[in-house]
Structures are given as structure tokens and as C-alpha cells.
Symmetry: C2
Subunit: 143 residues, 2 copies
């Protein structure tokens, strides 16, 4: 029989400032505000003096946004995804499609980058040799 691990819901107490979130997520404070202004992090609260405070729950939304952005989904497509999330269970098939597609795209991107890595490493090797044998005659100036 399969054991189901019940996860704890995330803490919704406001804890982190824009700057702290920026640091945790390795992005600029500008970007944090930008994402919030674009409505990508739905429930961020403010202090009585209008300052954004993020909870762990808000952070988890941010992590989702960051993951999708880091894998090159557009802001507007991320917004679509977030809005689907907010509409509840009936949007699961649509959300699943977005995630499956994104995984596929990333797969291809990784493959392409690995191809470029091979080219770069060939160039690296070429230059390493050149730096050793300084007298070498070079006819491919573009390498």
C-alpha cells in the first residue's frame, strides 16, 4: 500500500521585505516589485505604511514565477498560469499542459546549450594550445 505524505500548509505571516525576497531569490528588488505590480504574486500584503511584506506562502508563489521565468516563459504567459491557479481545480488540465510544454521546451534548450558548450570547449582547447605554442602559425583568425 502506498503511503501518502500529508504536507503542511505554508505560513502566511508577513515576514520578508522586498529586499529580503530579492536576496533569497537572487533577483533585484526592482524585479520583485515589477513581478508584484504585474500581479504575478497574488496575495502580497502591505504594512500600514504601504510597505510590501511577503510570507512564506507568497515566497512559494514567487518561486513558481521564478522557475517559469528562468525557463523563459513570458511574463504574460506566467500571468495566465497564475490566474489559472487562482481559479481552482477545474483548471488543472490547462495548467498541466503549460507545465508539460515548459518542461519539453527546457529539455530542448538544454540540449542546444550543451551543443554550444561543445563548441566553446573546442575554442577553449584551441586557445589553450595557442597560448602554449606562441610561435604557431594561425590562419583562422575567427576562431
Amino acid at each position: 500500500m502506498k503511503k501518502i505524505k500529508k504536507e503542511e500548509p505554508l505560513d502566511k505571516t508577513p515576514k520578508y521585505t522586498v529586499k529580503e525576497v530579492a536576496k533569497i531569490m537572487s533577483v533585484s528588488a526592482h524585479t520583485v516589485r515589477y513581478y508584484d505590480n504585474e500581479g504575478l504574486i497574488p496575495f502580497v500584503t502591505r504594512t500600514q505604511s504601504n510597505i510590501r511584506m511577503f510570507s512564506d506562502y507568497d515566497l512559494s508563489w514567487f518561486k513558481t514565477v521564478h522557475c517559469l521565468r528562468a525557463t523563459d516563459l513570458s511574463i504574460s504567459d506566467i500571468k495566465t498560469y497564475i490566474n489559472l491557479c487562482l481559479k481552482g481545480n477545474k483548471t488543472i488540465p490547462q495548467r498541466a499542459k503549460i507545465i508539460f510544454n515548459q518542461e519539453k521546451k527546457l529539455q530542448e534548450h538544454l540540449k542546444e546549450l550543451q551543443k554550444q558548450m561543445e563548441i566553446l570547449q573546442k575554442k577553449k582547447k584551441y586557445y589553450k594550445n595557442l597560448l602554449k605554442n606562441k610561435t604557431n602559425d594561425i590562419w583562422n583568425p575567427y576562431k
Copy 2:
């Protein structure tokens, strides 16, 4: 004793139109013209009616540019690199530095993307389960 393979110099006969280069390199024709206008492909010739024609030699420059761009070097930094190439052997140490640095940056980028891939695959699994057990109670709408 190490055998040194003497490479053949590349053909400089004009052969490919913008569109053909675009297809070969999997970029848009716009991008091909843009790179040329920016001076990233130094020796592209034109027909008497002013139409760009690329040789295999030009293509090899393009491939270098494409590799650097695909690994996120800025256009202006690529221009710097190309100009160093054109200045001949005395710029080898500077060029080597650019390439070594680029390889390192790509290494890090690949690592980051692999991290994001793990997150995406967790989400994928999550949605696959949801699609199977349609009655599942979901409390993390952001997943």
C-alpha cells in the same frame, strides 16, 4: 609523436542568401541582417544589385557569433571579440580570456537550468498524479 592534422581553409565563394543562412542557422532573416548591420560578420559581399551573399567562410564567422550569442554574450561584447579577431595574433590572450570566461558562465547557467528542470519535473509529476486521481483534494493552488 603527435600527428598534426592540417585543416583546409574555408571556401570564400559567395553562395548563400540571407534566407538560406537564416535556415541553416535556425534564426530569422531579420536577425541575419541585424548581425551584419552591426558588423558582426566582417566580410559579407553583395551582388551588383546590392544583395548579401554569404560564403562558407562568412558562415563560419556567423557560427562563432551565434555560439557566443546563444550563450548570452551581449552584441557589443561579441563585436569586441570579432574586432579582436580581426587584429590578428597579438590579441590572442584577450580573446582567450573572453572564451574562457564565457565557458565558465555557460557552466553556471547550465547548472541553474538543471536546478529549474528538477523543479519543473516535480510539478510535472504532481500534475500527472492530479490528472489520474481526479477526486484529489488540493490545498496548494500555486503548484
